[in-house]
């Protein structure tokens, strides 16, 4: 069956061949979500190559600047502040752990906490004891690095909705991607249903707590969630989800096996590249084999899916620029670390004030560029509509009394 042509089944639809507005939209194509993720991962990679708190804070500042400038006006994008707070919490936890379970090297004792005597066999672990400036600094640097990684991921989630990224996945991953999208959009309804049922429990005068209350709330919520899941499955079925393509069972299995092997290879490669102790001789071949296997698997698997995409995101030059900024900062930080410049890992023993250097600063400046260079976000829906300028012929038809 040829489904790719527009069969006028019902005739009489007004056929405006090209709609105005399409032109103006193309002029400001949004940045591809993949580009934002490459940018953010570049920042994260850079952060993972340094413990210099000044550089880390500057990376966070660059991310925050870009987010502030390019955050879309959706509910999804309001979460960046939460990532910042979460980052602070991580630093705090790391510091508290250090103080309590201290690694007491260094000479500048700040506070002398009482030490709890532990039996002989717990060698290496101690509770309490002296807190030194050197140890504390090293803990804070470490926590700050982890927090920066978190903020980078948060920036990616904020500027590029992960659901849009899933839309650009290759066909073979479409089904898995859709499951994630559906699960994400189900979460709020599940919470809403739990709130409603809890209120209903109060209507029955129940003040039960603990396991009994859990059962009386969980049962109706699960019941409703299951009902909704069945309804959703029926709706998806009725709308053509899962129409079969022309792929044999053998090819499907080959695709799955190749994908799995490719992912394994990529994991190995990632570990090899990020862990300085692993020699490059392992990482590079693993990377090559992993990429090759994944791509082959995706290509074979994608032939199975007979689907098209509505308004796919396009990787335009500006998107390439955004991705390039991410790659640039990562490269510059790698180079700095490779050159052995102490700016990457300032000494904590003896404790020295961290320095700055030209190369990493240049990287951070480049990473902040997308805040000005990328396509500006569209204004919120209400304003977007009025500025779109639709001519008389396609103005919305009022339906209803």
């Amino acid at each position: 069956m040829n489904t790719s042509t527009d069969r006028p089944l019902i005739g009489r639809w007004s056929s405006a061949a090209r709609l105005p507005g399409a032109q103006s939209l193309r002029a400001r194509l949004p940045t591809h979500p993949l580009a934002w993720w490459i940018w953010a991962l570049g920042l994260a990679a850079a952060a993972s190559r340094t413990t210099n708190p000044l550089l880390l804070l500057l990376i966070v500042a660059a991310a925050a600047f870009v987010v502030a400038a390019r955050r879309p006006m959706t509910t999804w994008a309001r979460g960046f502040r939460a990532y910042l707070i979460f980052g602070l919490v991580v630093v705090a936890i790391r510091t508290v752990f250090h103080i309590v379970l201290g690694g007491g090297y260094g000479e500048t004792v700040l506070v002398g906490l009482p030490e709890i005597a532990l039996p002989e066999w717990t060698a290496g672990i101690r509770i309490g004891g002296a807190v030194t400036a050197e140890g504390l600094a090293s803990a804070v640097y470490d926590g700050l690095r982890l927090a920066t990684l978190l903020v980078c991921v948060g920036a990616a989630v904020t500027v590029a909705d992960p659901r849009r990224l899933l839309k650009s996945l290759p066909g073979a991953l479409y089904e898995a991607g859709l499951v994630v999208i559906v699960a994400v959009s189900m979460a709020p309804t599940l919470i809403e249903s739990a709130v409603r049922v809890r209120r209903a429990r109060q209507l029955r005068g129940s003040s039960a707590r603990g396991l009994r209350a859990f059962r009386s709330i969980a049962m109706p919520v699960l019941d409703q969630a299951l009902g909704r899941a069945v309804a959703l499955a029926a709706a998806m079925d009725a709308r053509g989800y899962g129409r079969v393509g022309s792929l044999t069972a053998g090819a499907r299995r080959t695709s799955a096996a190749l994908l799995l092997a490719g992912l394994l290879g990529l994991c190995l490669a990632a570990y090899g590249l990020l862990d300085a102790a692993t020699p490059g001789t392992v990482a590079v071949p693993a990377l090559v084999v992993g990429v090759a296997a994944s791509v082959t698997g995706l290509v074979i698997g994608s032939r199975r899916m007979v689907r098209s995409r509505y308004r796919p995101d396009r990787f335009d030059p500006r998107s390439a620029l955004v991705a390039g900024c991410g790659v640039a900062i990562a490269t510059l930080f790698f180079l700095t670390e490779f050159s052995g410049d102490p700016v990457s890992h300032p000494s904590t023993f003896p404790l020295l004030w961290p320095q700055l250097a030209l190369l990493p600063l240049l990287g951070i400046a480049v990473a902040a560029l997308p805040g000005v260079l990328s396509t500006p976000v569209e204004p919120p829906p209400d304003q977007a509509h009025s500025t779109q300028g639709r001519p008389e012929s396609v103005r919305s038809v009022r339906v209803g009394p």
């Binding site: 489904t3 790719s4 042509t5 527009d6 006028p8 089944l9 019902i10 009489r12 639809w13 056929s15 405006a16 709609l19 999208i181 559906v182 709020p188 309804t189 409603r196 049922v197 209120r199 429990r201 109060q202 209507l203 029955r204 005068g205 129940s206 003040s207 009386s216 709330i217 109706p220 019941d223 409703q224 009902g227 909704r228 309804a231 959703l232 029926a234 709706a235 079925d237 009725a238 709308r239 053509g240 989800y241 129409r243 007979v306 689907r307 098209s308 995409r309 509505y310 308004r311 796919p312 829906p381 509509h385 396609v394 103005r395 919305s396 038809v397 009022r398 339906v399 209803g400 009394p401």
Partner: protein
């Protein structure tokens, strides 16, 4: 367009067929309305037309169903997606994505249409359904009428020849339902789509239908034909048809407009008779004493706009109060505030003069009970008996009280049934019995008529009026104008969190075309509201006169 050949459906484990030997040929471009009481197999019939039955539900289908020339036996629903579009009762449950445009494109993506074609069809459908203004909004932000129109649009972009809709307007207020039906009407007329639609509230839909398919009970033969003829013999009929039967009009009109042309004779027969006003119940207390009273209640959620803006309201002993208004006007919030489950931001709610929130939820349960919009939220045990016993315990009533109440509401219900297997009407009665176990001073019901057929609604009307007679204060929220006209003594209209009308039922409903019941529209300017009132007046005037006397 849709052909049923000797179709019988039996679900696994069921003792008998749900549909028996259905033969039906639906021509292209027809708007066919499926009617019938709860449990008569409407949903099964609709499901069979989309391939949902038996591919998704299981069960055994004998005979053959052809849709647009394709046999559902060999084509599962996904292979019929370009021929049949299905729309359900709750649009939110069927949404896959979270934006209007993506939702509309979903089926076309599955059908692998070209990007340019998809883009064009989305624009056309947005215009056709009047959704262009909200295209970029997320689905959760839309009003329920808009959501239902998006669901229709999401099916429509595949350019199906048939649309199958299962109670698409049951959750909508009169205005939103009108929006959806007008859109459907347009599809039938402009695009020649064949529509198969089921609905309980016939008064809303029947004037749009070309034909009616009436199911009576499982195993009984079905009737199919012009709306007037079929509805005159059907178990379920809108007030206009009931009135026509009472007055002996022939052919039977199905729209208010047709009926009004026949009305002068009936008006003459009724003469100067006035509808009987139900005396307010007194019980053992002085009538008209406020049981619940709200003073200056303000309420808002999170940082959103205010949902209630300084509401003053008394719910009096011995009366049934109906709260009406658009979806989102604050009806549910008002009932929650009256019950005391919600703390008003400003203002007070008192029960018999003392603040309602001062009592613990356990004590409050015994004095004010609320039946929520989803009665199922209250149920969590395995059997009806267990739920009833639990309710006795919670409300401190003597053992067996709840069961006794329930058997008054639904005689002969098996106590061992799982509450989840009950019909909507039965489940509502169970929850009502549970909430009434403590013999509360006030009973509040949020949208109690959703999913109920005419018989069940009549029963609910009787129950509520009995309650009021016994001196209980009853308040309910509803979109169902016919039900409100038959049940309520007083109507309050909420708009944007403010009370814009508060008066006896006839005064409110007669002054507004949105809230006027069919009988009132037909017999205007006289103030008749229900078929029952007319029937009683005619009976009081003596035996029914012959048709000749009428002319």
């Amino acid at each position: 367009m849709i052909t049923f050949e000797k179709v019988s459906v039996r679900y696994s484990g069921a003792p008998s067929d749900t549909l028996t030997d259905v033969d039906l040929v639906l021509p292209p471009g027809e708007f066919c309305l499926v009617v019938g009481p709860t449990g008569s197999g409407k949903t099964t019939l609709l499901g069979a037309a989309t391939g949902h039955v038996p591919h998704f539900t299981g069960g055994l289908l004998r005979g053959r169903v052809l849709v647009g020339g394709r046999d559902t036996r060999t084509h599962p629903p996904r292979e019929l997606a370009d021929v049949v579009g299905a729309v359900g009762q709750r649009p939110m449950d069927g949404f896959v994505t979270d934006s209007v445009e993506d939702e509309m494109a979903f089926v076309m993506e599955s059908l692998a249409l070209e990007a340019a074609v998809m883009r064009r069809r989305v624009e056309e459908t947005l215009d056709l359904l009047g959704l262009a203004d909200v295209r970029r909004k997320s689905l959760a932000e839309l009003s329920s009428g808009q959501q239902q129109r998006v669901a229709i649009g999401a099916a429509l972009t595949a350019h199906p020849q048939v649309l199958v809709l299962d109670e698409p307007t049951s959750a909508l207020d009169p205005g939103a339902a009108e929006e959806v039906l007008a859109a459907l009407h347009r599809l039938v007329h402009d695009l020649g789509v064949t529509v198969l639609l089921s609905e309980h509230r016939l008064e809303r839909v029947v004037q749009y239908a070309d034909s009616v398919l009436s199911l009576t009970a499982p195993g009984q033969p079905l009737q199919y034909g012009p709306p007037g003829d079929v509805l005159a013999q059907s178990l379920v009929a809108p007030p206009v048809v009931a009135l026509a039967k009472l007055a002996g009009w022939s052919p039977v009109p199905v729209s208010v407009r047709d009926a009004r042309r026949l009305a002068p004779t009936l008006r003459k027969r009724l003469g100067d008779a006035a509808p009987a006003i139900r005396a307010p119940g007194n019980g053992d207390r002085p009538p008209r004493a406020a049981v619940l009273s709200a003073r200056g209640v303000w309420q808002r959620y999170r940082r959103g706009p205010a949902v209630l803006r300084g509401v003053d309201l008394d719910v009096r002993a011995g009366e049934v109060l109906a709260v009406m208004g658009r979806n989102g006007a604050g009806k549910t919030t008002l009932l929650s505030a009256l019950q005391g489950g919600l703390k008003p931001e400003r203002g007070t709610v008192s029960l018999d003069g003392s603040p309602v929130r001062a009592a613990t939820s356990r004590d409050r349960r015994r004095s004010v009970s609320l039946v929520p919009q989803e009665p199922g939220d209250l149920l969590y045990l395995d059997t009806v008996h267990a739920e009833c016993a639990q309710a006795d315990g919670e409300s401190g009533a003597a053992a067996g009280i709840t069961l006794a109440l329930l058997s008054r509401l639904i005689p002969g219900l098996d106590e061992g049934t799982d509450p989840r297997d009950l019909s909507e009407g039965q489940r509502l009665c169970l929850v009502l019995a549970i909430q009434m176990a403590g013999l509360p001073r006030a009973v509040l019901l949020d949208e109690p008529t959703r999913g109920l057929d005419y018989a069940a609604k009549d029963r609910l009307t009787e129950i509520l009026i009995d309650l009021a007679r016994a001196g209980t204060a009853v308040a309910l929220s509803s979109h169902d104008v016919e039900f409100v006209a038959a049940t309520a003594d007083r109507v309050v209209v909420l708009s944007d969190g403010e009370i814009i009308a508060d008066a006896p039922t006839p005064e409110v409903v007669l002054s507004s075309p949105t809230y006027a019941p069919q009988v009132a529209k037909i017999l205007a300017p006289a103030s008749w509201l229900t078929v029952r009132q007319v029937e009683a007046a005619l009976r009081a005037r003596g035996p029914l006169a012959s048709n000749e006397a009428l002319r």
